[in-house]
């Protein structure tokens, strides 16, 4: 039962763009341009799309707005809203829809011009703090993650330097990625010297505010094998959410990624030791520490030591966020889809200087809200199938 979707669908095209800046383009403009690019790389066109998946910050009826913009009439669409993890849920929905014949070519797309338009994080979250949290005027969303970080330090002895090591590793990867927004050299001392925003998190523990757009295209695997490029298969996918607000998070150091990854591993028929490259949603440095534990790459409480030992940096034992992540590559409001594009590039051998040798299996982890929604996608090459 759990293996039902394993390898049935595949990614046949992927693209990103406008990380350097949106210029005068709207979110819809950017989304259309990256969609065209992703479809062309698959040998498909806009007219082939009959399954549409998106969730924008600025359009509540996102799929309607974007379908209209493209001039297409999708017969399956989904505008899931589980925060930045939405796009990894979209792949699960798309796989189900493709497999059952409800659509034949699924386009998953996102874009935002928040940096150019607002100069700060654009969020679609309504009532960022709940009624009972709002009076205390914590900073959204950083204070939520700060509360988790502070608890992780208390429980497990994680240090500010451990967190800083996450930012440094991300930057080392970004320096190998010409598309990354932040490519200047960054030392542990630089991170530690950056001003506190919501203790224990400092400015450089926080993800970037950038523009950017991304798109991926999925089809059934039988069709994928006849398209332009070798397919990257969806081997496992699972989602789970446990809360919305930080004050309702049962254990501030443990997320639903424990469950989503467990079911995704089961579907894919693999375990953490089989994963060659990890792309996870690093909204803050603590995200990487907690998620690596929950995904089974180290034991609960040992994430701090794991990341400060250099394991996730270039040359380490586990390549994590090889594009530079949300911390150094881009964070246009919601980052989830960028984890998929980078995994597809790694598994297609298209990652240039930052290419992980012999990468056959990638794990992508979407995290939405305040560690609220967790979605795991496991991707693999033909060899992994």
């Amino acid at each position: 039962m759990t293996g039902g979707l394993r390898g049935k669908t595949a990614f046949v095209g992927a693209a990103t763009g406008f990380i350097e800046g949106a210029g005068s383009l709207s979110a819809l403009d950017m989304m259309a341009l990256v969609s065209k690019r992703a479809l062309e790389s698959a040998g498909l066109g806009i007219r082939d799309v009959d399954g549409l998946f998106t969730g924008m910050q600025t359009e509540f009826l996102s799929t309607l707005a974007f379908g209209e913009y493209l001039g297409i009439r999708p017969r399956f669409s989904d505008n899931n809203r589980v925060g930045g993890s939405s796009f990894l849920c979209h792949t699960e929905q798309a796989a189900l829809a493709l497999e059952s014949g409800l659509c034949d070519a699924a386009l998953i797309v996102y874009g935002s011009n928040q940096r150019t338009a607002l100069g700060k994080l654009q969020t679609s979250v309504s009532g960022t703090w709940s009624e009972t949290e709002a009076p205390f005027r914590a900073r959204f969303p950083v204070s939520s993650y700060a509360l988790s970080a502070s608890r992780h330090m208390h429980e497990y002895g994680t240090t500010p330097e451990d967190l800083a090591a996450v930012a440094v590793s991300a930057r080392q990867w970004a320096r190998l990625n010409p598309e990354a927004f932040a490519r200047d050299e960054l030392s542990l001392e630089d991170v530690m010297a950056s001003p506190p925003i919501s203790d224990p998190l400092r400015r450089l523990d926080c993800c970037l505010v950038t523009d950017g757009a991304a798109a991926v295209v999925m089809t059934r695997s039988d069709r994928a094998r006849h398209l332009a490029k070798p397919p990257v298969y969806l081997l496992g996918t699972a989602a789970e959410h446990w809360h919305k607000q930080i004050s309702q998070m049962e254990d501030l150091c443990s997320t639903a990624a424990v469950r989503s990854s467990g079911r995704a591993y089961l579907m894919a028929g693999i375990g953490p030791t089989d994963v060659d490259v990890v792309e996870l949603y690093d909204a803050f440095t603590i995200s990487t520490v907690v998620l690596l534990e929950d995904l089974g790459f180290c034991r609960k409480g040992e994430g701090g030591g794991f990341v400060s030992g250099g394991a996730i940096a270039p040359g380490g034992s586990l390549p994590v966020n090889t594009n530079g992540g949300g911390l150094s590559c881009c964070h246009p409001g919601m980052y989830g889809l960028f984890t998929l594009v980078e995994a597809i590039r790694q598994l297609s051998g298209e990652a240039g200087e930052r290419q992980v040798a012999n990468a056959e299996i990638a794990l992508c982890q979407g995290s939405g809200g305040a560690f609220s929604s967790q979605v795991t996608n496991i991707l693999g090459t033909d060899a992994a199938l």
Binding site: W129, T132, E133, A134, P135, F136, R137, A138, R139, S143, A146, L147, S150, R151, H154, P195, P196, I197, S198, D199, P200, L201, I246, S247, Q248, L252
Partner: protein, 70 residues
């Protein structure tokens, strides 16, 4: 526990905490009678309704006997 940083001209830094009440719920709150940097996880506190930024909300003070962990 987190210290939310704010310029001195806007009132300076303040603490925001999550408190586990003996009654079994967790609430967001703020410790009224400690400097932000002196608020630590594990303190026992008691809830009192206070005016927080113009709204009545459950704040806490350090307690010897009543309640909880923050």
């Amino acid at each position: 526990v987190t210290i939310v940083r704010r310029p001195e001209t806007a009132g300076g830094p303040f603490n925001v905490v999550l408190v586990d009440l003996e009654e079994g719920v967790r609430i967001m709150s703020t410790v009224l009678d400690r400097a932000p940097e002196d608020v630590a996880i594990g303190l026992r506190v008691a809830v009192e309704v206070a005016d927080i930024n113009g709204e009545l909300a459950p704040a806490v003070r350090i307690a010897e006997e009543r309640s909880v962990t923050s």
